[in-house]
Amino acid sequence: MGSRNLLVALAGQPNCGKSTVFNLLTGARQHVANYPGVTVEKKTGAYADEGRRVELVDLPGTYSLTSYSLEERVARDFLLGDNPDVVIDVADASNLKRNLYLLVQLLEMEAPVILNLNMMDVAERRGQTIDIAGLREILGVPVVPTKAKKGEGREALREAIRSLADAPSHEHAFRIDYGPMERYIAELEEKLCEDPVLSIRYPVRWVAIKLLENDEGAAELLAASHPEADLVMTLAESCRERFREEAGNAAERHIAFTRHGLCARMAGRTVTIPTDNRRSLSDLADRYVCNRFLGPVILVAILMVLYQVAIVFGNWLALQVWPLWGALENFAADVLPAAGFIDDPLLRALGLWVVKSTTAILNYLPIFLLLFALIAVLEDSGYMPRMAFILDRLFRRFGLHGQSTLPMILGGVYVGGCAIPGVMATKAIPDERARLATIMIVPMMNCLAKVPLYLILIGAYFADTGGFAMFFIATVTLFMALPVAKLLTLTVLRKQPSAPFIMEMPPYHLPTVTGVMRRAFERVWLFLKKIVTVVAAVAVVVFVLINYPGLTENRRAHYQAMQDKSLDAFMSAVDKTGYQGRISRDDVLSIILFNESLKRAKQGVTDQTESNVINARFEADNPVYYAVVKRVGKDGKALNRALKKVDRVRKKVRREARAERFETSFLGIMGRALEPVTQWAGFNWRINIALLSAFAAKENSAATLGSIYGIDGGQSVQESMKAGEAGFTALHALALMLFMALYPPCVPTSIMVRHQSNSTKWMLFSIVYQTLLGLFVASLVFTGGKILGLSGFQTMWAFYGLCVAATLVMALIPTPEETEVAPLINASCKEHCS
């Protein structure tokens, strides 16, 4: 056929090694995106074959092709709409009977199919033999065996693709005989053929069968094209009714059972299964993993390992990598316009702020990489369904799913986690309603960025009972998240589709290093692309909000006076030395900056020789400055002392000016404006500012508090805060901590929420509801505690009790799906299809 490019789709049931086959065919060249408008991942790749480009699309794994799930719809739409030249049905050879169920549906759709019997090694290990030639003959399609995990079969597959593409068959001889239903199919087909467009675009027989199955997607197709769609629908209804009366069975059941019967017969003729019931390794493993007592223990152990490696080791890794980000900051400091005395030129201030905000996030990268790799291992190994199996009953009571475990652990179940990978991990949850519920509560868990603030507050106000306080804040979030999840499920999320639980538990599988690393890097890249850019943008906004309107003329004059005074002192010192006339007033700032530049250049240098080289370079650059900075000669020493004084004044001026700018800034105004509302929670405007800044990144709260209280003398932040807020009590601190715990997710997390829920509406909802909830809880605790006259400590435990009670109560309320019982049908099936 020549040089036309080919489009090949990869279909298949879950757990049949489709991804491995995909990787086998495309090698490293892949691209992950989303199908338009939905959160279903679309993986595309390509390879070159005899001068042609073959584009491969990995369709979502589906057991069937109905309209009930998003994945199935996406797969179907692609097959019908994008017209692939070849469709490869990747099947698990050791489970042929079940996998054929999908194949026959593909054949009914008249897709150009190649049956790829993958996992032949597993079939062999189980002692099965498959008559491939026989299959080929029965099905009428090419059958290609592969062992994709071992890398075998690529050429055979590529060849089969080539052959089929070059010599497409238009016969579609495969037909399932539906027995008594056939005449109804014919009736519908006749009516459908009245629409010339429909009958060309879609296989008519397939549409007829789908309509009889009561398939929504087919109805939509019909309505979009057929001039008399309503009539056809009525006819289809009548056919279904008549069939049911005649055969005593619902149409869709008859269709499904007939298919299964056919598959069973086909498999019976071509596959020989050994009669001895050998227990596989997976079965053996499951005896422990799913055991009543060992199961939960193993679960906890696995989660602890995950935690230790990702967080603890990741922490260490992050520290090693930090110099990289530090170098970036130093580079920016050197390259941007020089600093001033009281404050810095806009470009410099803004630039450094953006760089610092970005490096703070980049600092997480090693940890994310580790986390994503570990999650990929968990997912690939097949453990996730076991986790869901063990915990489902517990989580279900709160509207969550067994697979909500991992996202919540990642969000931080004791002290330490991050909502970003937590929300990302909700992708795997099959039940849409539970998924959204999980996404909404993961940010409430204990993310690591909240911890510095907790430590400050506990150290300041709960110093004697620190251990208990830590335990409180770490565990109370769980008891708040669960009732909230239930509440959301009962109210806002009620309308969301809830899927049946039934899920496959595939055999365990050893993840490959390449597979895991590939996924980990993919996700890190996604993170970088989506999040870092927004963080930088938000940093700019925050910068404006905390620095403007800026100092008034008056205040500026005040600081200017301090500057002048210190410069005067220095200049008089200069006049007493041999540098008189060689160092001017303007030089002073330059000397200070020269010193800072020198220190930056030597950061991390531990070798004296290397240090000397740097020193020499700076000396050559400006011998006079160098002399003052490095105390060369008697004059140098004297001026060095004077310089230190000026530097101290400068630092003080900058510190105080910054604190002042903060307080009079837009953010400060906002903080003040919010005071009437937040007073019930015990927050004054200074706290409000810190909290508002925390929206950009939770870490900011601790840093901002530090800036606001304008640390004085040798005090720690705690002491300064206590001094600055004389009226604060432990109760205030408690309210603040609780607010921080519940407060909306930081910007990167919000972006991830938007990405996973695929809707800005949900992102906004999560921000709004969490803020309101936080405010409500903080107010409840503060005002409640005050009215009841309880101490901070007492309120803490009263609140704890309240949360635990709420959790128990919520657990007892039945979830919506438990009150709707699926309609029971009395018709009994007269078919035996094995």
Binding site: N95, K97, R98, G295, R393, F501, I502, A822, S834
Partner: protein
């Protein structure tokens, strides 16, 4: 009798499905059809859900869902 009434270790074959809509479809898609051999492997640590062996592969299903599967021993 229905599937949820059986205890771990029992083998049976499916007689009929009494579920409609998405649940029924999903059950059928995952291989529940008349004559299919089902073996109850174990209950979860918290009793629900239950793990089944269906024609050589394993599925787990809630008891409320198993109630809709009629079987004969």
């Amino acid at each position: 009798m229905t599937l949820n009434e059986l205890t771990p270790g029992t083998a049976c074959s499916m007689a009929d499905l009494t579920a409609d809509g998405p649940l029924g479809q999903r059950l059928m898609d995952l291989g529940f059809y008349p004559g299919a051999r089902i073996e109850i492997v174990r209950n979860a640590p918290l009793v629900d859900p239950v793990e089944l062996r269906l024609d050589g592969y394993h599925v787990s299903i809630r008891h409320s869902e198993a109630k809709h599967i009629e079987v004969e021993l």
